[in-house]
Amino acid sequence: MMKVVTGVVGNDIHVVANRLIDISLQERGFEVFNLGVNTYLEEFIDAVIETDAKVLLISSLNGEAEGWCRDLSLLKSQYELEGVVFMIGGNLSVGEDNPDVIIPKFKRYGFDLVFHQSDLGIGLDTLEAYLKEHV
């Protein structure tokens, strides 16, 4: 079973999507390590290393993703994280914002898959397709 670490990043306590993501990932056959809400980037990285997960799926709903994720490349360079798929989704900016601006921005921060205000099902379909191709 492929291992996924998931959770909600930063000082964000929106838990509803997190519960649904947990269920959906399990239904799709992943082994899920759900760190829940209010999880910092370092904690995510630690968990990925500890569990040897192949996917890190981060949610952010309260608009503060950018502040908490801009250091991802830095962390990636400090740890052995080859082959891990970095994915983020939810509501990635404060206020209404254009996906055409947001998605490239988060890709630059080091995410492979970025979903701003998009459907969970489509996001997970894309993840599975991506995994088939790249892993």
Binding site: G10, N11, D12, I13, V15, V16, N18, R19, L20, I23, G36, V37, N38, N62, G63, E64, E66, G67, N91, S93, V94, G95, E96, D97, Q117
Partner: protein
């Protein structure tokens, strides 16, 4: 110097706070304009549902501009929503993000970092607008925050040890939350003797997701009693649109009745108790015109339940922090709707109200029967024991056994009662109304019922 004052001195001695001048603050509050007190507005607005939006931006100028927009839309109560770093007492991060926001004219915070901004600055705005302001935060340890708020001229403080913890925190210790909120109540009570009373408001929406009315009301009553115990004289209980018109009406009727009943029973019959209605707090449709319809529908219901205050949402809800224009538009439309609505019928449903009253009393009785010596310890034990829990709490102390779904009329019903101390009878009343469609799991039903407004 009183024990409390010693605590207060420590609290405000913080690297993020300029010198805090208690004497100056006291004399400010003593002489403050009555228009800053919502408790005063409640008294003089008999019958009119006060309208309050939500909103806050990182910078002073943006909040100032937001308030201007609200005033033009005839707002009754201004909000000051605090950013989520401040909520978690992470003033360092808030400071960093505030600086970024100011430099780049971009909002790097989802609210106003009141502690970093300070009361001297903030008060200028409050005095300028001379309108009641409500502090919206979600902070378990709000001691410093509310000192700042009261010193700024913000005379309504939302929250409570349960309502700002269970939905808003993952592992902040509940016992500490009780004690920190005791501090808040005491400061509010203290300042209440100087001028009009400071109003405290509980946050009934909780996690805004399939919350059963019995639990909401129990928690409202506990927080009300904890507040009145410390000497607060003006308190608002609240709940949010359930998704069923009838359930909203029943909840409002029982909440009004029981909050007054218990206030009296505990010897606080002199306190003013108000009812606040939150427009739909769950997931909003991603169609702004439909969001407008949802907002108006909620307003009609608020009129039907005769709320003393309504807290509004915006057409931007599903997308992000609303623009000030969208926010003010909602205020204007809600005011229009309330003013235009006439001949709104007074409704009740005896059987529903009787059962809800029974459920609330059963849970409260179990709590009151706990052997602990104080109410907060009884409440603490009740939560630890799972006698009280809320669906969809991120907090580790929450039992997470209760499952709720909607019946065919849209009312939220208890499917699994976990350890809630409900009698067979009062539980069966709920449970018997649930019908899971054939071929669907309970999880399917829950997911469906969360998205009922989409």
């Amino acid at each position: 110097m009183s024990l409390l004052q010693r605590d207060r001195d420590i609290i405000v001695s913080n690297e993020y706070v300029d010198h805090f001048d208690f004497d100056e603050v006291e004399s400010f509050i003593r002489g403050a304009s009555k228009n800053l007190f919502i408790s005063h507005a409640f008294k003089n607005n008999k019958g009119k549902t006060l309208v309050q939006p939500r909103g806050g931006f990182p910078t002073y100028d943006k909040v100032f501009a937001l308030y201007k927009e609200f005033k033009a839309a005839n707002v009754d109560v201004l909000p000051l929503t605090i950013d989520s770093n401040t909520r978690l007492n992470d003033y360092a991060m808030a400071k960093k993000m505030l600086a970024l926001s100011e430099e780049n004219d971009v909002n790097m915070l989802n609210g106003y970092p009141l502690v970093n901004q300070g009361y001297r600055t903030t008060r200028k705005m409050m005095v300028h607008y001379d309108t009641p302001v409500s502090l919206r935060h979600g902070t378990p340890d709000a001691r410093l925050l509310i000192e700042m708020a009261l010193a700024s001229g913000i005379f309504e403080i939302e929250g409570g040890p349960l309502t700002y913890l269970l939905p808003y925190s993952k592992n902040f210790p509940l016992d500490k939350a009780f004690l920190y909120w005791k501090y808040v109540e005491r400061v509010c009570a203290l300042y209440s003797t100087l001028n009009e009373p400071i109003n405290r408001e509980s946050f009934g929406p909780l996690s805004a997701t399939l919350q059963p009315p019995a639990i909401v009301i129990v928690i409202q009553i506990i927080e009300m009693l904890l507040s009145l115990e410390e000497g607060v004289k003006s308190f608002s209980v609240s709940f949010s649109q359930t998704g069923s018109v009838m359930q909203d009406i029943v909840t409002a009727n029982v909440l009004k009745k029981l909050s007054r009943h218990y206030a009296k029973q505990f010897g606080y019959g002199d306190a003013q108790i108000h009812l606040v209605y939150h427009q739909w707090m769950g997931a909003f449709p991603r169609n702004k015109n439909r969001s407008d319809s949802l907002i108006t529908t909620a307003t009609v219901i608020a009129a039907m339940v005769e709320a003393d205050k309504i807290i509004t949402k915006t057409r931007d809800e599903a997308f992000g922090i609303p623009t000030k224009e969208a926010n003010a538009q909602a205020v204007d439309c809600v005011q229009y709707t309330l003013a235009m609505l006439r001949g709104v019928p007074k409704i009740s449903d005896e059987a529903e109200e009787e059962n809800l009253t029974l459920q609330v009393n059963e849970i409260l009785e179990a709590l009151f029967n706990d052997s602990a010596d104080t109410l907060w310890r009884k409440a603490f034990n009740a939560i630890k024991a799972g006698y009280i829990e809320i669906p969809f709490s991120p907090h580790i102390i929450n039992a997470n056994e209760v499952i709720t779904v909607r019946d065919d009329e849209g009312s939220i019903r208890i499917y699994n009662k976990g350890k809630l101390p409900l009698s067979e009878r009062s539980f069966a009343f709920d449970r018997d109304k649930i019908r899971i469609p054939e071929g669907h799991s309970v999880v399917d039903k829950i997911i469906h019922d969360i998205g009922v407004m989409l």
